[in-house]
Amino acid sequence: MDKIKIQFVLNGETRQVEVEPDLLLIDLLRERLGLTGTKVGCGEGDCGACTVLLNGKNVNSCLLLAARVNGCEVVTVEGLGSYDKLHPLQEAFIAEGAVQCGFCTPGMLLSAKSLLDVNARPTREEIARHIAGNLCRCTGYTKIINAIEKVACADRHCACSREAEEGR
């Protein structure tokens, strides 16, 4: 089986790898590149634990052949923040108690990021709709939505953050 040479940008860094035709992106990330932040749940597109960003959009890495990311940009949870400097969404998830077992969290964070990148001030309904492909068996979603809303509200144009600033 001939290997395929691919080049893609992973968490801001250009990577060149050789992949088997039937290698899935999730396995490239976890097994080959050691990025185990991305989780495997159902393996069939139903749970969202494997969510990564492909050219800025949230996708299921369990359904993508690795060969298909040639020339693309991929972001995993490792590219979101670091231990020293967490991403505002990560800060908010912790502050709001939106993490319990944590299995859904990497995917949930990336779905949230892909929403806020195109819609800085989503409604609660828009948030719920955008994380509909990410299952969480622990939190009941309310705290996750609270956390995402908190980051959206930290955006300077948002009415609730203006109120907070004026009250200060």
């Binding site: 597109g45 969202g48 949230n58 299921n60 052949l65 060969a67 509909a132 492909g133």
Partner: protein, 290 residues
């Protein structure tokens, strides 16, 4: 078994590749194909990734219609203000597929060719009278999407043929369309019943109408007998209710894991009533999207 991977970048190269292969699977978004491969329902010797082919991409406007590339994702459809206004049922159906993750990679072409009786864009395309452009090395022909399906999971496409684009007539004055889906939950649920209506009104009368439904037969179907009855009827709640009752009797729904036959019949009635009501409201409102 592993497969060989090809990623042609032009239609010409695609057809040359297909010619050279004994057996292959085309890969668009892969949300049906990869799942089937993982479940060992298929074992392709070769996978031909068509995602690099520009001629199969993009939403173009032609006079009174849209030409939608087979590789256009459900997400792209939901992001099109023009489709929302003038092909509303398709816009709504694409927004009901799977989850954001699925909509970002799954394509309209894949949704059709996979030929699931419950495919969400299918009833919308049937109601809108959409045509699929079938392309092969020897040329291009057009076929109504309704005539593409030959059975559950089967189409009339022959080896070496692909769907390159889908042509959807644009709704104009006095016209409107709507899509309705009943699933077990709002996201990530295959339809128990789905359906779509397209309507042209003349004052308070129905001038023309098309109705389609999914998950009630081996393929998505047009409800031609009900359409015939509806033409010339007055726009009224009682008209839509009668059409709904006819739908319940007409479709011989199956009992399966997602619902009993009786419940499906009830849903079929509701799908027809709601789709007709909404399409008629849009036709009256001037703005197709209201």
């Amino acid at each position: 078994m592993p497969f060989v991977y090809h990623a042609p970048r032009t239609l010409e190269n695609l057809f040359a590749t297909l010619d050279s292969l004994e057996q292959y699977s085309l890969l668009a978004g892969g949300t049906d194909l990869i799942v089937k491969w993982k479940e060992k329902l298929i074992d392709p010797k070769a996978v031909v990734d068509i995602n690099g082919i520009a001629a199969m991409k993009g939403i173009e406007e032609c006079p009174h219609c849209f030409s939608i590339g087979a590789l256009v994702t459900h997400y792209e459809i939901t992001a099109s203000a023009r489709l929302r206004a003038a092909a509303t049922a398709l816009y709504e159906a694409a927004g009901e597929v799977g989850s954001p993750q699925i909509r970002h990679i799954a394509t309209i072409g894949g949704n059709i060719v996979n030929a699931s009786p419950a495919a969400d864009t299918a009833p919308a395309l049937l109601a809108l009278n959409a045509e699929a452009e079938i392309q092969s090395r020897t040329g291009i022909s057009a076929i109504l999407v309704a005539d593409l399906f030959t059975g559950t999971g089967r189409t009339c496409l022959k080896p070496g043929q692909i769907i390159s684009r889908i042509k959807v007539p644009a709704s104009g004055q006095n016209q409107g369309s709507a899509f309705v889906k009943f699933g077990k939950r709002k996201a990530l649920a295959i339809a128990v019943v789905n359906g779509a209506a397209w309507i042209t009104i003349d004052g308070d009368k129905i001038k023309d109408v098309r109705l389609a439904m999914g998950a009630v037969a081996p393929t998505p179907i047009r409800l031609l007998a009900i359409e015939d009855w509806l033409r010339g009827q007055t726009l009224a709640a009682s008209t839509f209710k009668t059409a709904g009752t006819m739908a319940e009797k007409l479709v011989r729904p199956i009992s399966d894991i997602r619902s009993s036959a009786e419940y499906r019949g009830d849903l079929a009635r509701q799908v027809v009533i709601r789709a007709l009501e909404t399409a008629a409201r849009r036709a009256k409102g001037g703005c197709a999207c209201g």
